[in-house]
Symmetry: C2
């Protein structure tokens, strides 16, 4: 299985601290990694078929503080699809003049959706097929970019149609909002004023966010397993889809 | 104006040497850079809004030898579109289950093509509009991925329709072939057996390719200005579109 890390913030924020802890998990998930950063409408996605604990690309991410409002990262243990660059998450597509980034944890058994439109998988993972299908169905449902709330309502109809094929924990973002869905394992945390220190679960690193933040800053972190040992992470319920905007959970009627 | 660098090879080859020379030109083209590497069907695209001579991302590219058969790099001096990540070349889209990468040098005046299909620009450059239009028209011309020869014939019809708006030097690749088109400035070089040493034009660096290559290796390099001082670069004719496959020019009837 793979592991996911997501971040959604109300001001551009770097993920050096969180990614450093996350990358430690790569010894068990050694079949590549990837991380995508939205900066405004632009996105940059770093992928490597090497493990995140040895990859020079991951070293860059750990030392170059890229400030972003939406980040999606993934470390991979190959189950479906060979170890190759085209099978590394996150995947990216353009829809309605925005980039969309997707990463998945889980297996979708015998998942062969009807891809009759213009989103086609390049690699051979179940994950990329699911992403292409979601993009296709979103494109059919809306003529142009709808609000995050509207998109959440559409995703609520679409996601269960994929989830019945297996485990479908995923992160999806268009740089404006981040959606997280869990069928088995996903936890989240909102960091906001008053900030204090955080201690990584997987590495001997502590950071005092009170020193680094402004009062109004707010950051949501989403991960397969809690990244920090001394903060309260909230587990997702089975089948729960959450919308994150500006570093917090938005409830959609 | 910007500068372009392309590579097409018959075996996965790194571009550390060529990129090191190319990045020296960034002092005059300081508004970001980008480089995309095809590895099999997969592609990874590194972009930074910082100049290639100071960017930590460019440092990684100069020290981490990524082996690829098709590379497209670009250093940018902003003329149209602000300095922002979404305006950094190369641009990437998926079509027929393959990634397509595009970078452009030149200005297209008042270029507002009719984009009625599903390829939409995310940023606000003339270049990305041209790429979206080419993708749209290629998608209309072929139901599935045609051969490089077929695509060349289609591009011959499409490219002049863009080029009449201004300067349209570009590089395009799907990882199987690389197309280069010049209206003003582009030069190329094929390196093959017997290999010898090459000396960079822009930096005090010499490399003896005879030490690093096998007899059958073949690499084509395409650049706005010759990258090496002691090799014979061939200038493109105005309006010339060339197809590169396996490190050599392929003539298409």
């Amino acid at each position: 299985m793979c592991q996911l890390l997501g971040m959604n913030a109300n001001v551009p924020t770097d993920v050096v601290f969180s990614f450093s802890g996350f990358a430690c998990r790569a010894s068990e998930h050694a079949d590549g990694f990837g991380i995508a950063f939205f900066e405004g409408r632009g996105v940059r996605c770093f992928v490597d078929a090497q493990a995140a604990n040895v990859s020079p690309v991951a070293d860059l991410i750990k030392t170059y503080p890229i400030r972003s409002t939406d980040v999606i990262a993934h470390i991979r243990k190959a189950t479906v699809g060979q170890v190759a660059l085209e099978n590394c998450h996150p995947f990216t597509r353009e829809l309605w003049g925005r980039y969309w980034v997707f990463a998945h944890n889980g297996d979708l058994k015998d998942y062969r959706p009807r891809l009759h439109s213009h989103f086609r998988p390049v690699g051979d993972t179940d994950s990329e097929r699911a992403f292409c299908w979601l993009m296709q169905e979103l494109a059919k449902s809306h003529a142009s970019l709808p609000s995050p709330d509207e998109l959440t309502r559409t995703l609520r109809e679409l996601v269960p149609q994929v989830a019945r094929f297996g485990t479908f924990n995923f992160l999806l973002s268009n740089g404006e909002a981040l959606w997280a869905h869990a069928t088995t394992k996903l936890q989240y945390l909102v960091r906001q004023h008053p900030f204090s220190h955080a201690r990584l679960q997987d590495a001997d690193m502590t950071l005092d966010f009170a020193q680094l933040t402004q009062t109004g800053d707010r950051v949501a972190l989403i991960a397969t397993e809690p990244l920090t040992a001394n903060e309260h992470w909230t587990p997702f319920q089975c089948g729960e889809l959450k919308l994150f905007v500006d570093g917090q959970v938005v409830e959609v009627a």
